[in-house]
Symmetry: C5
Subunit: 354 residues, 5 copies
């Protein structure tokens, strides 16, 4: 989060449209892949120089250019020039701190999304910046690193199964967004498992560590929510049917992915509520434990302190203490001690402390 803010300040003072990659370099080499298809034809190739993609722009087939890696701003610049994109768009593609948004130009629609994935190495949830440009017959997608979220789509394109090869660039955009939203579910599932297992721990044996975990999950929810919330507007913006680039038939699909987004938000809110409840449970169980400790202390103290006092009395060295001379005095004292002790115990039992 500090990172996020830092990135932005690095740019302060520059002219708008200046292309600087704000973010970490997540991949060694930029990978460019190209898919060109219609119902009957299909072409897929790995591209070395971005210029190889440009001829496809004028073909009537649907072209999908996918760029993994943002640190070579000259590639973005060339794409910008060839596809006639606004400089601010290019800036937003490179600015990984940009929140999800949609920007509707006449010739193309620009969409910023956040992809979420679990980094197995660092055991952290990571947020990745994804930008999509939807033109009349092309889609350009920008990712920070090589990911596998889009692989099923590639597979479907190759096999030509379903609607995907018959439909246009807008449908491809939908499938890309759908894949990203679907990827949220696996993160939520992972969080859900953690939440559930945590719940048992907090009730049974709460430790400061479990509190820390609750706080970490809570914070993760804050970040997730921040990434997903603006998606609603983005998708409903796409589906509103104001742009000629999105066909009416795609509307129902976009409404479907919109539904999924709402569901994700709903689940995040539910998790937040559950985590708050667990925090309360934790605090109550800590306070119960304190109570327990206090009870033990009080019972011990209240029973033995008077008894010790009695013993102390007969430890005094007065020359004239008649009880000391009595033959059964010692046993009488034991009697008193037992009576006092037992009546204390009964008192505490009546108070339900035992």
């Amino acid at each position: 989060m500090r990172r996020l803010v830092k990135r932005m300040s690095r740019k302060a003072g520059l002219a708008p449209g200046t292309l600087i990659h704000v973010g970490e370099k997540k991949v060694e080499k930029v990978r460019i892949s190209l898919f060109d298809y219609d119902e009957s034809s299909f072409e897929e190739k790995e591209v070395v120089h971005i210029e190889e993609c440009f001829p496809f722009k004028d073909k009537p087939t649907v072209t999908w250019i996918n760029i993994d890696g943002l640190h070579q701003s000259e590639i973005i610049e060339k794409i910008g020039k060839h596809f006639d994109l606004h400089p601010l768009i290019l800036e937003d593609i490179l600015n990984t701190g940009q929140r999800p948004k949609i920007e509707d130009f006449e010739n193309y629609i620009f969409v910023v999304l956040k992809m979420i994935y679990f980094d197995g190495e660092t055991e952290e949830t990571r947020i990745e910046h994804v930008s999509l440009i939807l033109g009349g017959n092309f889609v350009i997608s920008f990712q920070e690193r090589v990911g596998d979220v889009f692989n099923p789509i590639r597979e479907r394109l190759r096999k030509g199964k379903g609607r995907i090869r018959k439909a246009g660039a807008d449908y491809l955009t939908y499938t890309l967004i759908d894949a990203i939203v679907d990827s949220y579910y696996s993160i939520l599932e992972r969080v859900g498992e953690k939440v559930e297992s945590l719940e048992d721990v907090v009730v049974a044996n709460p430790t400061p560590t479990s509190l820390q975990t609750i706080h970490n999950l809570k914070r993760e929810m804050i970040f997730l929510r921040r990434s997903v919330w603006p998606l609603r507007e983005v998708i409903s913006g796409l589906g509103r049917g104001e742009s000629s680039l999105v066909q009416e038939a795609t509307g129902i699909y976009l409404r479907d992915v919109y539904d999924h987004t709402i569901q994700v938000i709903d689940t995040i809110e539910t998790f937040r509520d559950m985590l708050s409840g667990m925090h309360d449970t934790y605090l109550s169980s800590i306070s119960n434990r304190m109570n327990e400790i206090m009870k033990v202390l009080t019972i011990f103290a209240a029973i033995f302190i008077p008894l010790t006092f009695i013993a102390g009395i007969y430890g005094m060295n007065f020359s004239y203490m008649p009880e000391l001379g009595w033959h059964w005095g010692y046993f009488a004292v034991w009697g008193v001690i037992l009576i006092v002790g037992i009546s204390m115990l009964l008192y505490f039992r009546r108070k339900r402390w035992l």
Copy 2:
């Protein structure tokens, strides 16, 4: 809840419209029942093959097909083909994680609802996924298991009492929704009883168990709320009179069931408020109890510690301690002890600790 998320991730990567039942199989065999009626005629039959229902589509009478069990996706698929339903609709019918929604196509309206019932075996409130398709003269309803919520409607259809046989498919849809909303009341009643009995317990004798019950009920409220809240939009969407499939005369009935939904939400909110209040009461009574314990400890300690000190003094073995030789020394010490003890007691009484 974990379940809910899991289900969804199982589908990630598949083409939209792929029919996979996401959810548990809640019934052994899919049961299909058919009602066909108008004001004068009435036919009811249990159907083995879904194809037997299809001829009724073209009859002017109102047809109600009810399917209990979602795990045989081929049945759903056949219905989809015959009634010309959008693939995403079929997907939503099978996806039990789908939240309540309404989707208005020109020829039919698709409604997703959540039915809530109390599972006597596991002592848990369960949420069931119900989908309705309202066409010109037919209603198709999908449930996860054989339930008895719709039985009174079946009875009314058989007896031909009231408005139901005279009215169209839209009125039948209303009665189905009404039956589902009515079923919420019995759950809320059960919760209400628990809340009320809990209230007495929390005030009289709060235990960690009662806290746990509060938290469980709170969480149940979160889930109920999540199921009921979107219903408002669904029902107001139906009643808005934009579709030609819903007659104007049905509007007032839909407004009525809308009112009931609001009432359910209201009651849920009230329960939440009451549970929050009970949580506070619990915490305060725990803290009161701690106070009580501390008081007892302090009173015992503060009275006996000085007395024990006095006894300790005269237990010392100095060769020259004049008091020890006094004849009434021992009794004088008892006098001092009594004076100190009683003045401590008076002090604590003045502090209202006794």
Copy 3:
């Protein structure tokens, strides 16, 4: 509140419009009273059979039929038939769990309100269900029991003072609503007094009972709020001037009663805020008291435990303890004890514990 939910579930499964009184029977016999008036004429009578009221419907004068007691559904049914009311309206009249609402038909407007009164016997605030039907020249009002809230209006009708006899049925409806809203003030006043007196108690001498009272008042506020909040919409719905049954001149009066409703809601919110503040004060003062107790305990323990230790030392029976033989040894120990004790006291004073 449990009652509220229970009532509703009793109806589940019945056809809509089935007339069942959901609620307790609050009055032995249904009382029907009739007022018929215009500027010059005035007639008042107690009616035994509801049919006696029906001829007044066709007279140009304003007719007010007031029914106290809802348990004889056949009366409601007859009214429904004669005045051509929708079955759902009749159902809502009998359903005391219905929240405030307005339903605008062409020939009449149906209004549900909640009257609040303090039951002196049970010392509880009770909510009563009131329904009003405003037709062209008649008003029918339904109450659960014989109340005295409408008495001043009856008096004004009899005396013919003010605008009331000159104005139409809509103005009468306004005065009835106004009387109900005015009745809220006396409840709020009672609550206000409780809140104020509680405030002094909580600051001066908080007990668990005062906490309980805070919680009860808080809950009462939740219920009041729930009854009053929808009133806003009801009254603004009436005053919006969409119905020809409400004359424009009545608009300003409805705005006035709307203002009062807002004021009631405002006051309820203020009470809630104050009660929350008092809850906080209570908790802080409990925690202050705990602090006090801890201080006393600590002071006693910290002073006497070292002293007892010193006494214990010289109570040991070692054969060679040089101090024991010293002539002034005993007094020297007293000196040490005083020095230690006084320095402890000074230490605590410096810590501001004394």
Copy 4:
């Protein structure tokens, strides 16, 4: 606040428009003052009988009638008759419990405001009810008591400086509202000072009194907020330019005072946030203090209890206790005591309790 509610209930049951002054009588004698001016002429007089003001109504000059004191309802009644005001307006003028509102009639606009001033005698913030009636060429203002908030306006009128004499009655209304909103700043300034000085106290040396002050200020903020919040709507209602009584040129001035209102609300919210923060700080510092006390107790107890035990051991009177006979036994015990004591101290230091 109790007062507020009480006032209202006094009126319950009366016909709307009945003129009863609800509120305390804050001034002995009603004072009526009149200003009549245009750009060139100016007349000011103190009026004994309200009738003296009436001829000014028909003059083209702007007339400002200011009435201080509301308890003589016959004056209000006469004004109502002469200026043809709606009875409900007159009622609202007298009802000091009325919240800020605007009522737009064709011939005049009625505005209710709340003036806030600090009562030096009782050291309390008081809320005063102010009503304004803006007609074509007159403004009538009603206050509960003689105040000095409007004095600068009177001065400006006398001197004829600025825009005020050139502009119409609407501008005069604006200046009156502006003066009232400006008066809020001095109250907020006073509160701000208290908040700031409190902040230092809470951090340095929190006492239950400082908590009480926090709660009082919080409650004051609740009341202030309630008075100021509806002002927004009132002023934006005036400035919306729907009435012909408010000239377009006055719009920018009304927007300016609207800005000030927002600023006042903002400041109140900020104070509330700060007070909540201070409440948290208070609680934390109380809990820190408790911790401190516990530490002291624990250190004393944990060090001396074992030592006292050791001393107790050698105070036993067994006939055969070898250590007692040792020559250096006593000193050895001292050695053990020192070792135990010092190691306890080291242990607590390691735990950072010392």
Copy 5:
């Protein structure tokens, strides 16, 4: 904050439009600088008398007049006269308590913003009042002190790089706003670092100081939020394209800076959430520590108090105590003591207190 309120009350009672500088004098001498440019020409000069700027108004080139220092109200007055500005605008320029707003006149647009900078000397975040006036071909900017936020813009103007010299006054206004919004990032970055380092401290070793820091940061967030929140409306007001002074092409740039504002608000909200979470962590860790202390106390007390009692018993001086005569009595007592002590330890271990 106190300052803020104070300033305003100083003005109470004055006619609107009276020019008084409300705020501290932050700079010795007012500095006026002028930039006049179009695509081909460029002129920059430091101005002594504001009158020197006036001839530029009628030139077709874009003129930017920047005034640093607000305490010489006669300069503002002269500008107001020459550029025909509304007196209230001039008032707002001088009133540093004014919140961000936009005021659209026909000939010019007036914008109030808040610049935020970190004062290295006092280690405080400071808020500065900035006003902009956008006319057809001029921009006038007012700052409280000489700052360096606008320096990069000056540099870009001098070098003629990018779009800035080609575009009009509206684009210049955009760059000024953009520079201000960008400056927020460096403050947020600084806060972010503090928050992050604090987080580690709170988990590892919370002290009352860290709580104080949390509270200070929380309060800072309240103030930041208050400054930034209204910016949203200001910028969207500019970009809405209702004024002819803002060209359509500038719209996308304004949307971009709007996005940044949202991002700033988002980050502030995230910080607030994180700080709340840290506050909770702090409280829990304090309460954990209390628990720890209590445990230590209880363990010591519960082990040694019974043992001391046993020792006390055999310190009694009864003449007949058989055990005292036993040869192994003393060692038997040690045995008992060890058994009791060890069983207590085992008991506490089983309770997981050790």
